[in-house]
């Protein structure tokens, strides 16, 4: 089942070179529709009440190094598969792209499906790296200004992180002889822990570094604004919508369950880094004048909330809760994990939508500085209106999707780390300032000369914007359908962490 899903975009990439170049986007979109349909079928087959991995496929691959072809999904994997299936067509609709571009995008999509479903480290790492190369090429070849520098920085930074992570895992493998996620988690739960002594710290540091770069966590984030700024708009959407989730996914799937003791010890530091991500990134976003860079920084900020939630529950496990406390501690853990999962999904949609709108503005005006526009409300009221919805969603307005995840994360992190949380809410304020400043600058005031000829949303753009916005409202008002997907997984994982 899952293998088919991974193969669909790959076949699409090959089909692109069989079909006529002029039809590239149509072909790519067809295969995307196919993948989306297939992902929905997975959802339909998926039993939400079952705790174990589902739709598992296991094949012998390279037994000598413990590499197995092992894919399967739980609630979290399914959520991310759905997100990937949602963001990619959205990105394909955001810009014109030629054959090579579309092919690389499809390869990346396939790699992402693989990353979110692989349950063996070697396989996972293969997919993880496979997503990196197309992203690098897409920025390097089709990017904007400074694309060489940004692409190189992006590649080297994440690649070095990956190497560190690989080394960490090699260390684990040499010590315990397996790459299977489930087995590793069991070993970590058993009395002695996964590793001990110095080597545990080395492995922890390596894996942490790789994932922290990927998320990115402050202060390993400096590649992100450059990469997102230089990338073509469709790639920016995928980078922020899906690729950034690989890091968070890695934290949930690997680091937190495998190294509970290490995380307990450095917990406060990690919380500090998460708070720094939240506060400094939102402040830096305020100082940007380029809309793409602004959204990029806010992306760091929003992933900071995910990190806050994750580190909070790890610290919670550390505090050694006493008996009457433990029910409330379990509730907090559930809240944190649910909040992080919601935030992953919602940030994916919202940030991709924001990039989409920035792309629309750039296509019309040729520029994307915050001061290059003025009084748009008089000229393009529909564009302004729908774009405002995405902005309000991103600043966490209740009633839209962004709020629910943030509420749950803050609820749980407050219980554990009240002072960190109190500082982190400043991020909510600065995000609001950033967006209101942008709205004031773009939409209000007298109509700028240069914006006289801009056209409002076209029919095909409405076709993209309306469903995405409706989804934002749907999640914001009645989020149960999403919680339903991952609720059992949340309960299982909370059992692992405590």
């Amino acid at each position: 089942m899952i293998t088919v899903l991974i193969l669909i975009p790959l076949i699409g990439a090959i089909a692109l070179f069989v079909g006529r170049p002029a039809n590239a986007r149509t072909i790519a979109l067809t295969f995307n529709a196919l993948a989306a349909f297939y992902a929905l079928m997975l959802w339909q087959k998926f039993d939400v009440d079952l705790a174990a991995l589902q739709l598992v496929e296991r094949h012998v691959w390279i037994p000598s190094i413990g590499a197995e072809y092992l894919v399967g999904i739980d609630g979290l994997s399914l959520l991310l598969v759905l997100l990937t299936s949602l963001i990619f067509p959205f990105a394909f609709l955001a810009q014109k792209m030629d054959r090579g571009f579309s092919a690389l995008m499809l390869v990346m999509q396939s790699a992402l499906y693989g990353t979110f479903t692989a349950q063996n480290f070697i396989l996972w790492f293969l997919f993880y790296e496979m997503s990196l190369v197309p992203a690098f090429l897409l920025i390097k070849i089709w990017g904007g200004e400074n694309r060489d520098r940004a692409a190189t920085k992006f590649f080297l930074y994440t690649f070095l992180g990956s190497v560190a992570m690989l080394l960490g895992f090699l260390g684990i493998y040499f010590a315990r002889g397996t790459f299977d996620f489930a087995q590793l988690v069991d070993l970590a739960k058993s009395g002695n822990g996964l590793l001990s002594g110095k080597i545990a710290w080395f492995a922890f540091a390596g894996i942490f570094l790789g994932l922290a770069v990927k998320v990115p966590l402050f202060p390993f984030h400096t590649w992100l604004p450059d990469a997102y700024e230089a990338a073509p708009i469709g790639v920016s959407m995928v980078l922020t919508g899906v690729l950034s989730k690989m890091g968070v996914y890695g934290f949930i799937r690997l680091l937190l369950p495998l190294f509970p003791n290490e995380i307990k010890i450095v917990g406060p530091w990690l919380l500090g880094l998460a708070v720094c991500s939240i506060v400094f990134a939102s402040l830096a976003a305020w100082a940007q004048t380029d809309l793409k860079r602004m959204v990029a920084y806010l992306s760091i900020n929003h992933l900071g909330y995910c990190m806050l939630g994750l580190f909070a529950i790890s610290a919670r496990a550390a505090s050694g809760a006493t008996a009457p406390e433990s029910t409330s501690s379990l509730i907090d853990m559930h809240a944190a994990l649910s909040g992080v999962f919601m935030q992953i999904f919602n940030h994916g949609i919202t940030a991709a939508a924001l990039f989409y709108y920035v792309g629309l503005l750039e296509q019309r005006r040729g520029l994307r500085g915050i001061d290059d526009f003025g009084g748009l409300m008089q000229r393009t009221p529909l564009l302004c209106g729908w774009m405002s919805v995405a902005m309000f969603s991103s600043l966490g307005l209740p009633g839209l999707n962004g709020f629910i995840g943030e509420f749950l994360i803050f609820k749980s992190s407050f219980a554990v780390a009240a002072s960190f949380t109190a500082v982190a809410v400043l991020g909510l304020l600065f995000t609001a300032i950033v967006f209101l400043r942008a709205m004031q600058s773009l939409f209000s005031g007298p109509l700028a000369q240069s914006c006289n000829a801009l056209v409002d949303l076209t029919r095909s753009e409405k076709f993209v914007v309306v469903p995405v916005t409706l989804l934002m409202f749907a999640i914001g008002l009645a989020p149960q359908f999403l919680f339903h997907i991952f609720n059992t997984t949340v309960i299982t994982m909370a059992g692992l962490f405590s």
Partner: protein, 665 residues
């Protein structure tokens, strides 16, 4: 079983919301339909509010509600709900009725605006959000609607978005209230953590009921103060009041809605709703959190009254008077007079809407002039506006017997006089009452008496669609005075969950004479100072305000709002801007600098390897040179594309680390 209206209470906000959404889907041309839908939506909401009011009369202290599951995370269900009790029912009636009057008035006031339909969509949305706040039976649902109120005010204050000042005012309002909301949000998560639920009433398990309150214990004070931050922001209390006067940039009906029925009332309502948290562990009705509420209220009330006395923009005077009256309500809540505070809130809703709509009528008649010094003599030119405005003015000043504001003010004075902690608030509020009467007299004299000045010469009475709402609100202002009299304190006891009894002797109390004396003093002061303005010749627009000639510095200090805006601009705003720039700078030079430094190290390593290649290895056997030189050339390419260098470094590092592992293991 619950009455029908309780299970369907959600329809009261839902109907205006639906009206708003359906209007948004129209184009600008269908103006009549848009206004009709908005008004019908409001009429339905009003009718349902009356229906909701009836069961609360059946028994004192009636309370019923309905809760439902919003979503489930882990094994915990997050529930929301709505509640119907006297507080909700009274607020519902006030909001729907006042909103309806404002909606009708807007038809006339906004007739020439090209975004007429959108205006009605926003108005309906505003009213829907506020109705949601008052029916919420969960602090979370209240917070959700509370933020939506903020959004609606943002949209409406910035409605004339082509005006940069309006856009700036909208942004200021949203951000200033959000500062308070951060505190509210923290209080909310803390309360959730402490009590395990956010439902107010849940058959004994709600967070306002005894079991959960006991569990809160000592943290109640902090939670209450954090929640109060939200109220400070929304209700324009010092030091977050600065957005409220700027909010006058919106169309006048919006000002009326913000200042009377919706936005600012939300803060006072919030404190009244979660009052059990504020009063937890009270000794003689005094808790630390309530003491803070009292003093914030006192400071706000006096400061705003002083500023109002020096403003010359008709709407700004009213805006500061709102701030001042809200301070009064907070004081009342803080000293334990919850019913008195809410009564004043309700009465204020009616007469402040009346005053704002009246000022809208004046502005409309004077061709968009807002400076009271350029008006005058409107008494004869706009008689209906004059009479209704005078009713509003007397209610606000607290002229006894016939106007609702008088009774509620008397109640508040009564409540403060019994506060055991200090008598200072009591006397300071008295001063506020005098000032209020004085500045309202000043405004009346400037606008309605004397001879017409430049802007008012060609003034004309507004059309019936605008004056009728004024008359309706005027009647209500007087009628409310009847149900508020101490002789038959019906509303007071209704809110407190008691049954009112008629007792004429309670009408005549010492406090009645005190407040009468205060009002006479205030009006007398106003007349004394400004009677020359009324006697002035035509066409003399610019003359020093009598207060300005007497106390030039004090006048300028107050006229410029105590320079608080400038102070904030130079402190908090400047600091956070600097922090933003600093973060950006750190990113460029420190964090990225470290990365680049690391990169340069790699480059150096490349150059070093190249050097080794050329000097050491080259000197060796010739055959081996070919490969080595190739490698060296590869490394020397480091300056253009750095990847190779890095990969080389990475490979070597990897080997080194592997060795390290082998050694450690």
């Amino acid at each position: 079983m619950n009455p029908w209206i309780v299970t369907n209470l959600w329809l009261i906000p839902a109907i205006p919301l639906a009206a708003s959404l359906s209007i948004l889907s129209f184009n600008n041309a269908r103006r009549k339909t848009a206004a009709a839908i908005a008004i019908v939506g409001q009429i339905v909401a009003l009718t349902m509010s009356i229906l909701a009011f009836l069961p609360t009369l059946s028994a004192p202290g009636f309370r019923a509600g309905h809760n439902f599951i919003w979503f489930t995370f882990g094994e915990q269900a997050l529930r929301l709900g709505w509640v119907l009790d006297p507080l909700t029912a009274a607020m519902l009636l006030m909001i729907t009725f006042v909103s309806l009057c404002i909606f009708v008035f807007s038809i006339g006031y906004m007739a020439a605006d090209k975004n007429f339909t959108r205006f009605f969509a926003y108005l309906s949305f505003f009213s829907a959000a506020m109705l949601g706040v008052v029916i919420a039976n969960s602090l979370l649902l209240l917070f959700v609607c509370w933020e939506l109120v903020g959004l609606a005010s943002y949209l409406l204050i910035g409605f004339w978005i082509h005006k940069p000042s309006a856009a700036a005012a909208a942004k200021k309002a949203f951000i200033t209230t959000r500062i308070g909301d951060l505190g509210f949000f923290l209080g909310l998560v803390w309360l959730y953590h402490g009590s395990g639920t956010l439902l107010f009433y849940d058959g004994g398990r709600g967070c306002l009921e005894n079991a959960a309150l006991l569990a809160l214990g000592g943290s109640a004070t902090s939670i209450a103060l954090l929640i109060f931050c939200g109220a400070v922001g929304k209700s324009g209390q010092f030091p977050l009041h600065v957005w409220l006067p700027d909010a006058m940039e919106g169309p006048t009906p919006v000002s009326a809605l913000i200042h009377a029925a919706t936005m600012v009332a939300a803060g006072v309502f919030l404190v009244a709703r979660v009052y059990p948290i504020f009063s937890l562990g009270a000794i003689n009705d005094v808790t630390p959190s309530l003491t803070v509420v009292v003093w914030i209220g006192v400071v706000t009330g006096l400061m705003a009254a002083l500023i109002a006395a020096t403003q010359s923009d008709i709407k700004r005077i009213l805006a500061y008077s709102t701030v001042s009256q809200l301070g009064l309500m907070m004081v009342s809540l803080g000293v334990g007079g919850v019913a008195a505070g809410i009564m004043h809130l309700l009465a204020h809703g009616f007469f402040k809407a009346l005053l704002f709509l009246g000022s809208g009528s004046v502005i409309h008649g004077c061709h968009d002039e807002q400076d009271i010094r350029k008006m005058g003599g409107l008494r004869r030119l706009m008689p209906v506006t004059f009479i209704t405005y005078a009713i509003g003015m007397m209610a606000l000043s607290g002229v006894p017997l016939f106007f609702c504001g008088a009774w509620t003010k008397e109640e508040i004075l009564h409540a403060t006089s019994h506060w055991p902690k200090s008598q200072a608030p009591h006397y300071l509020i008295m001063l506020g009452v005098v000032l209020t009467a004085a500045y309202m007299t000043r405004q009346m004299i400037y606008v309605f008496f004397g001879n017409p000045r430049a802007a008012s010469e060609h003034a004309h009475e507004s059309p019936p669609v605008m004056t009728r709402p004024l008359v309706a609100l005027g009647f209500c202002t007087i009628f409310l005075g009847v149900v508020l009299t101490p002789a038959w304190p019906w509303l007071h006891d209704y809110l407190n969950g008691e049954t009112a009894r008629f007792d004429l002797t309670r009408l005549i109390q010492p406090m009645l004479f005190v407040s009468l004396a205060l009002v006479i003093a205030g009006i007398g002061l106003g007349v004394l100072m400004y009677r020359r303005v009324a006697l002035q010749d035509r066409h003399r627009n610019v003359e020093l305000d009598p207060l300005e000639s007497a106390q030039p510095f004090l006048f300028r200090f107050l006229e410029n709002k105590m320079w608080l805006d400038e102070l904030y601009e130079e402190s908090f705003i400047l600091w956070s801007r600097t922090a933003a720039r600093l973060s950006d700078w750190m990113d460029h030079y420190v964090w990225d600098g470290l990365v680049r430094g690391f990169g340069s190290l790699g480059q150096l390593f490349g150059i070093f390897t190249k050097g080794v290649d050329e000097r050491a290895i080259n000197a060796g056997v010739d055959e081996s040179v070919g490969g080595a030189r190739g490698l060296g050339r590869l490394m020397s390419a480091a300056h253009s594309g750095q990847i190779q260098t890095y990969l080389g470094a990475v490979a070597i590092g990897m080997v080194a680390l592997l060795i390290l592992y082998a050694w450690l293991a």
